[in-house]
Each structure stands twice: as C-alpha cells, then as structure tokens.
C-alpha cells in the first residue's frame, strides 16, 4: 500500500511509467526499484527457494538476501530491491515451474524432505547406475536459479577501466562520507564508491568524486580494488583504502523464519522511508530496540500487535505459522499472536569481508557477540560501524525451539536439522561444515547466515565462537557476471606487414605462438613443386632478428653459443644453436657478421622475446660491452628459393648474384627493387635460396614485385606446410618440433658445432658430462616401407615396447615416399637399421636414413 510521501522518500512522483512482470504491466514511479514497484502493486511472493521451492518475500531490501532475485531484461538473478525500475523493462520470475504463485516444484517442499537432506547428492540418485542419465536431466533442469542463453551469445557489452585514487572510500553512509570529506579537506584526490543505498549518491556537490551505484568486489595486493559499476569494471590503484561498509542486520533462527512477511527491521524501515510503502497491516516485532521500528510502523499505518524485546525477555520457543507460505501468526512461548508481518532483528554484524581480503584478522568480540576486524595492513583503514566498535550488544539465542523448518541459510535451504545432521556425521570444523552443508555458499555469500550458523555450531558443539572462527572471505564480495570480469576479450595477435596479401590470396592461416602465418595457399604439393622446379617465395618476417654490436660482441656470442664465431668472416653467415647450462637446446638461428663488431642474429619465430631476455640477462651477469637491439618487427623477411631464384633476383638488383660472387652462406647488402636489403644465402628448404631482410614498411611492395616480376618463371608463394615438407626432405630439424626441453645438441646430430676447446660457454659442462655418459637417444631420419605417414608423436616400438618417438612425418611427392624424423635408441641410429612404428594400432616398418633424403650432397643449395 503506497503511502503519502514520507520524509526522505526516493521517488519522483511526477514521472511514472509501466514495466512488465510475467507479461502483465506494473506501474512504477521514477525512483522505485523493481521490487518496491511490485510490492506497491500488491505482490508479496518474489521468488521460490533453491531446494524446496518455498515462497519467499522481501526480507532485507538491501541487496543482501536472495529473496528478490528476478530475471530482468534477459539478465538472470538480478536483485530487484536494488535495481531501479525502467520503463518497458521485461521482468520475469525464475526457478519456477509454472508461476511464482503456483510453482509445481513446491511438491519438493511437501514430500522431498527425506530424500533431500544435507549432502543428499552424495547419497541419493546413484542407483541403479543406468538411471543416471534420467537423474542427471532432472537435476540439471532443477538446479540453479536463473537461466542463461545456452548459445552463449555476448548480448551485453562490458568494459574495463583503469583508475587511480589517493584515497578510495568504500561505502557512502555517514562514516564513509565523513572519511571522504576529511581526506578532501586535506587536499587528497578522493573517490567514494557506494552501492546506491548510502546518502552519498544524493549529496548535491561533494568535494570528492562519487561513483554510485558501484560495488567494490575485492581488495587485492598492491592496493588494487575492483569496483563493479554497471557494465564497467574499474580497476582502482589506491594509496589509501578506507572501508566503511557498515554492518549487516542478522536474522533470527526459529521455525517459520523464512515465511513471506517475515522481514528484517531494516527492510521494513527502507520500504517505509525510501519508497513510502506500508510493509504490512498487522505486525509483531521481535528485536532489540524494537520500539524504534515499532514507531516507524505505526507512523506508516501498521497495527503493531506486539513488541518482544529479545534481549530482555529471552523466550525459549518462537514458531511462525503461515497459510500458503505467507505468515499468519507467531507463537512465542505458547502465546499466539495473529499478524501478516513479522519484523525481526538478530543484531548487526560488521561487513568485514573486504577487510579480511585485504589481510585483516577476524576475531570474535564476546562482549558484543559479533566478529570484528583487527590488525589491518598498511594502507587499509576501517571507518564507522564496520570496526565493530559501536552499536548495541545483541545476543539472541542461536536458535529458538519449536516444530517446523528452522532455516539457517535461506539461499541454500539449509535447516537447523541439516546442521545437526552434519555435525553428527563428523563435519565439526567450520570449513568442512560449510562445504558439506553449503551454508554461506549461496547468493548472499554468508551476509545473513555466517554469524547465525557459527552461533548455531557453537551452541551444538559447545565450542566457543572465537575458537570456531570464520571461514575465509574471498572475492567477489558481491555477485558479478563473468562477462564483467572478462571485459572485451581481445587477444593479441601478431601479423607481418605482408599479411593482407596472404589473405587476399585466400591463404589458409595458422597460429605460430601469437603470430598469424600462412599454412598454405590451397595446394601445398604444388607449392613444394614450385620450389623444386622454379621459384617459391615465403614470408618469414616472423623470424626473430637481433642486432648484437659492440667491442665485446665476439666474446659475448662465443660464451653464449657452443659455436665458434671468432673465425666468422665479415659477410658470412653461420647456423647456431643456443643451449642452457643444463645442456638443453633452447633455440636456433643464423648468425651473420655484418662488421667486425656487428652481428645479425636470427631466432625462431616464437623465440625472439625469450632470446632477447636471455642475451640481456647473461650480459647483466657478465657485463660485456655489447648492445642488443630487437629488430624483429622493424624488418620483414622473405625467402626466395628455387633453381630460378638467381634469375629472378637478377631482374631486381644490380648486385652480382653469380655463384662466384655470392656463394652459399654469404651475407650481402644491396638494393632490391629499390629497397635496401640484407641478403643471406642460406638453405633451409634445400634449394638455391636467398633470404631478404628489409624494412617492414616495404613488405607488400617487395612481395608484389617478386611475384609480378617472377610470374613468367613460375614463381609461387608457399606457406609453412610446404616449407615443412621441403626441410624434412633435407632432414633439417625444427627446434620445438623435433626437439623438446630435454634434447641436447650431441644427440640431435649437431656435435659438429660444439667447440669443446673453448674456455667456457653456456652448457659446456653439461655437454661434457653428456659426452662422457654417451647418448641416451639419437635423432635420425627414416623412410617408411609402405608409404604410410605416421602421426607426429607416434611411437617407435622395439620388442613390443615404446622406445622412441616420431617428431615429424610427411609424404614427399618428389621422393614418392613417406619420410620423417624420430628419436630412437642409439643402437638403432645406424644407416639402414629397421624400425617399427605404431600406426593406427598396428606396426609399420621403416628404415633409418642418416643423410638428407633429397640432394644429400647439398649441391642444389650451393649452386
């Protein structure tokens, strides 16, 4: 029943509009919440409880309890008592089969009790096992409260914003406002966060910033406070955090305490003061300081039948009875009073959760009967009633006796009997009992049930509340959607400067780390053919590129690599493998000497960052006079390979590319089609090839020019798949594919590059030990007898047992064979040894080949 405007009402009666509830229009004033408007329209049942589907009505009106959870505009489980009414909003009940007033699932309340005791899911619905699919379907449809879009469409936009504050005040009641004011007066930059219930939202011109409605959901290390404000998640870094979150009124535990019409005194007061609503016609008050709320009720026109001061009169038995779920009377120690509203209060518990997250210790104050925060860490303060230093002492009984369901946790429908049963079953520590009974694990997260449940445990076990302690408070303190935490969901992807050309050619792309790379342009076999017979071009811009320069460049590289570089002439390139002090292979690449003290080092595509860190770290340790610069993105790279590569290049540059002037493993610089390039003659794909490195802004231009001017030579772009086949024909390994974190250079057939006569290099000692010990396994090439291509990772089998593994395998059209690389026991690492490889559950035969399958002399790449 809507009253004339009460003092402090939050309504603007000049504006009213309808919204829909379960298809029917409901009238609201501007300033109403969905719940207050529904209450004004006469609705009393707002939800059905989780397990028993009992009707539930408004209880706290402060966003703590689960009783008003409704689906609003497609968003499930919205607290209607906090959600402003909006014109045209579509509001629906949830967790009902039928309607709020006639829920077919309420049969569970009548008969389900014995089948659904605490922890029932550990005992029931298990046999017969073949009936599980039926049980599961039932449980899945019965479980949960709200419904979401099963197709997982992103229908809401959530953003994340970074903010700073010198002082962040959480809570906009009197104490929060005072703390914010004080800090602002001292010249600090202050932000105050309030959930909308405090007065802060209504201050005309505050000297500090107010964010409302907004809820701080967690305090993390480093003064990080996450604040949920509608569809924006603010990540605040605050130098000082003031927590003024106040206290939460606690319910009383007695049979019938969940009936519709049983309200916390604060809830009743809010209905009267903020929305000018009469909470009931005939009320009984069970509280301390009961006269204050009784006065408010009388002013609102409610007939206050009885007022019981719980502290003074300490009744033994309290039983509320109802009709169709709505309270109709309450009997206190046998004296029955009729009422349609039962106002209760079990005292106020400081809302310490954020402080606990920040590192405060939670102790029991026996004098006041509440848990209070102590020992706050630096940078975090508590202000107001949350400190526990104020307020009356209220010590209600843990529970009042009487017949009927006495609810400890209304979110999870846990009764006093459930708690006793849990204790009897041995769950006698607070953390175990919480997990077994599910108390505090529902939407209220313990706001209304943590203290009452601890009081109950203490009462039943005889342990003191202080000894029992509290359960760990974890974020989020208020419910948040996963969408808000996820934000926009962008994931960084790296693309070369030639990327768009690949897309235009219809390339099939793939990921290499966070790089987008071309798998193929549709026909890898044709791409391979082009490289063997004509010219292929591949975008290898993803290669890591580091410039190492300085007076100590040579000793620096000599200490890092097992290779020798002192004898690398200017203008020459050498293949190098980086190892760790454990003797394991880390990365590989080419090292080209551009000048006496200037080296151009390439790394694998995913290794660039790691190698840069590695180089810089060793230099932090050794202090050589060298500089390392990361050029990975600055330069694009294209490999031009095939018997006609020289001819194509000759059309684009005046550099002498004859085999005499530009030999295999030379590095030269020249303008190619007008673009300054570093040209490296290296042979990963086994044919005559030149790797061009040049400024990335010319990527598309040079790519286009190569394809255009090379068209009549049969020039084709090729991708990673073709590259893999080509390098496999030459038995060139790929670090990370053919090697893993345990592989070493000796066993991987690269002993030739390890120069043991050097004084010291990273990995030398480990490799010396490995050399002494002898190989445990060896990397070898193999070819299959019958052309079956094994899976990469497939087992090499010896005497029926796994003895090795296939790391790479492909069909080679050129050779007409299935070929690959595998790790095998050393005694099988001989030319012609026979291998058995598991394929599709059977065993296929193969022969070991120690030399490159194609052009083992390397004549083609040196031509």
């Amino acid at each position: 029943m809507r009253l004339p405007p009460q003092q402090g009402e939050r309504l603007n009666r000049d504006r009213q509009f309808p919204f829909l509830f379960d298809g029917k229009p409901v009238h609201a004033f501007d300033g109403d919440t969905v719940a207050s408007a529904l209450f004004a329209s006469g609705r009393r049942v707002f939800s059905r409880s989780f397990k028993y589907h009992r009707p539930r009505g408004l209880l706290c009106c402060s966003g703590h309890c689960p009783n008003c959870l409704l689906q609003i505009d497609g968003v499930p489980s919205v607290r209607a008592c906090m959600e402003p009414a909006r014109e045209g909003a579509v509001v629906k009940a949830q967790n009902v089969l039928g309607s709020l007033d006639r829920d077919l699932m309420s049969v569970v309340d009548k008969v389900g009790g014995p089948f659904l005791p605490v922890g029932f899911y550990y005992r029931t619905m298990m046999r017969p096992r073949r009936a599980w699919p039926i049980y599961e379907r039932f449980l899945r449809s019965a479980a949960g409260l709200g419904r979401i879009d099963k197709h997982g469409r992103r229908t809401h936009r959530f953003d994340t914003e970074h903010r700073r504050a010198e002082v962040l005040v959480i809570g906009g009641g009197a104490s929060g406002i005072a703390a914010a004011q004080e800090a602002a007066d001292a010249g600090r930059q202050v932000v105050l966060v309030d959930d909308g219930l405090g007065e802060a939202a209504h201050i005309a011109s505050a000297p500090f910033e107010v964010l409302s409605p907004a809820r701080a959901i967690g305090i993390y290390e480093g003064g990080l406070v996450a604040v949920a404000a509608g569809s924006v998640l603010y990540r605040f870094r605050a130098e000082r955090i003031v927590v003024a979150t106040g206290t939460i009124e606690q319910p009383l535990l007695f049979p019938g305490n969940d009936l519709v019409g049983v309200m916390l005194s604060g809830g009743a007061r809010r209905l009267i003061e903020q929305w000018s609503l009469r909470p009931g016609e005939r009320a009984v008050v069970l509280a301390t300081g009961g006269e204050t709320i009784a006065d408010d009720l009388r002013r609102a026109g409610t007939d206050v039948a009885r007022v019981f001061e719980i502290g003074d009169q300490a009744p033994e038995e309290i039983v509320a009875r109802g009709r169709k779920g709505r309270v109709s009377s309450v009997a206190i120690d046998g004296e029955k009073v009729e009422c349609d509203l039962l106002v209760m209060s079990g005292g106020r518990q400081p809302a310490y959760s954020l402080l606990s997250q920040a590192g405060a210790k939670i102790e029991y104050d026996a004098g006041r009967g509440i848990f209070v925060p102590r020992g706050l860490p630096a940078g975090v303060e508590a202000a107001g009633s949350v400190t526990g230093e104020r307020g009356q002492v209220v010590q209600p009984a843990p529970a009042y006796s009487g017949k009927g369901k006495c609810f400890v946790c209304i979110c999870e429908d846990v009764t006093r009997k459930d708690v006793k049963r849990a204790l009897a079953e041995g769950f006698d520590s607070i953390e175990l009992a919480k997990r077994y009974t599910a108390v505090t694990m529902g939407p209220c997260q313990g706001r209304l049930c943590h203290l009452p449940s601890i009081r109950l445990f203490a009462g039943e076990t005889g342990m003191g509340l202080g000894a029992l302690g509290t359960t760990t408070a974890r974020p989020p303190w208020a419910p948040v959607s996963l969408g808000l935490l996820a934000g926009r969901g962008h994931e960084p992807a790296r693309r070369t400067s030639i990327h768009h050309r690949h897309e235009e050619l219809g390339a099939r792309m793939m990921w290499t780390g966070d790089w987008r790379r071309v798998h193929s342009y549709g026909d890898p076999a044709a791409e391979v053919r082009a490289v063997h017979e004509a010219v292929g071009v591949i975008d290898v811009s993803t290669l890591g590129k580091l410039l190492v320069s300085g007076p100590d460049a040579v000793p620096f590289l000599e200490r890092l690599y097992p290779n020798r570089f002192a004898d690398l002439r200017v203008g020459r390139v050498r293949y190098g493998v980086l190892g760790t002090d454990a003797g394991r292979i880390m990365d590989d690449g080419t090292i080209g000497r551009l000048a006496e003290e200037e080296f151009y080092v390439t790394t694998t595509s995913t290794g660039a960052g790691v190698v840069l860190e590695w180089f810089r770290w060793w230099n932090a340790v050794w202090g050589f006079d060298v500089e390392v610069v990361n050029l990975t993105g600055a330069l694009a790279a294209v490999n031009v390979a095939g018997p006609h590569a020289r001819e194509l290049l000759g059309r684009l540059t005046t550099l002498d590319c004859s085999v005499e002037a530009f030999t295999y493993l030379d590095a030269k610089r020249a303008h190619v089609a007008g673009v300054p390039c570093l040209l490296l003659r290296i042979g990963f794909v086994g044919e005559l090839g030149y790797e061009l490195h040049f400024p990335s802004s010319y990527g598309e231009y040079l790519w286009d020019t190569l394809l255009d001017r090379g068209a009549d030579l049969g020039t084709r772009p090729f991708g990673l798949e073709a590259q893999r086949i080509l390098r496999l024909e030459k038995q060139h390994l790929i670090v990370g594919q053919d090697t893993d974190s345990e592989s070493n250079t000796l066993d991987a057939n690269m002993a030739w590059l390890v120069k043991f006569d050097k004084d010291d290099f990273v990995g030398k000692w480990a490799l010396e030990h490995m050399q002494e010990r002898g190989a445990r396994e060896r990397l070898v090439g193999f070819e299959m007898d019958d052309g079956v291509v094994p899976l990469e990772g497939g087992q090499v089998v010896v005497d029926g047992r796994p003895a090795g593994r296939v790391t790479s395998a492909r069909w080679s059209e050129l050779l007409g064979k299935a070929i690959g690389l595998a790790w095998v026991p050393p005694d099988l690492a001989e030319e012609g040894s026979r291998l058995e490889i598991r394929v599709d559950g059977g065993l296929e035969q193969a022969s070991v080949r120690l030399r490159a399958f194609h052009d083992p002399e390397g004549a083609r790449q040196r031509s």
Partner: protein, 103 residues
Amino acid sequence: MSFLLPCPNCGPRDVNEFVFAGEISVRPQGPPSLRELGSYVYFRRNVAGIQREWWFHRFGCESWFQAERDTRTNEVLTTELVAPSKNAPPAPQAAATPDTPAT
C-alpha cells in the same frame, strides 16, 4: 597476483609487466662435478622469507634487475640494477648455497 614491483627505471608497476626469473644462484666458476652442476641447474633454496631474485621488465624498459622480496607476503623491499664487473666472476650480492642432492 597484483602486487606492485618498483622497477629501478620506471617506478612502481603491476607485477604482470615483468618476467620472473627465479632466485639468484651461484654459477660455478670452474668445471663443476656432476653433483655441483646438478645443484646449480636444478636446486634452489626456495626460502619462506626474504629472497633475492631476478626480474625482467618485459613490458617496460626491458632491463634486468635484482629484487629482494618477502616470499610470504610479496612485500618488495629493494630493487636495483646490477652493474657487474667484466673481469670479476659472476656472483650475486649474497651468495646462496643450494642444497646438494640427497644421493
């Protein structure tokens, strides 16, 4: 994890801007026995207390520095750039002897 790490160059930053490279250990100066090598490569003191460790500012100045952090609370006490001498053997400020393996 969201504590702030004060980079010697860039000032206090979210710890996720950095790469953690573990507690500082002593690299053997001459050829080590297999046992000494194993200790150096695989063993760490892993103290519950103040640890001296390496950090790299990957999303900032891309420099390496050493920090002292209480591993129990993530309180960072000091951070400093290291300036080694080329000729001195590489060693951390406070040598930490790793536990040797049981065998």
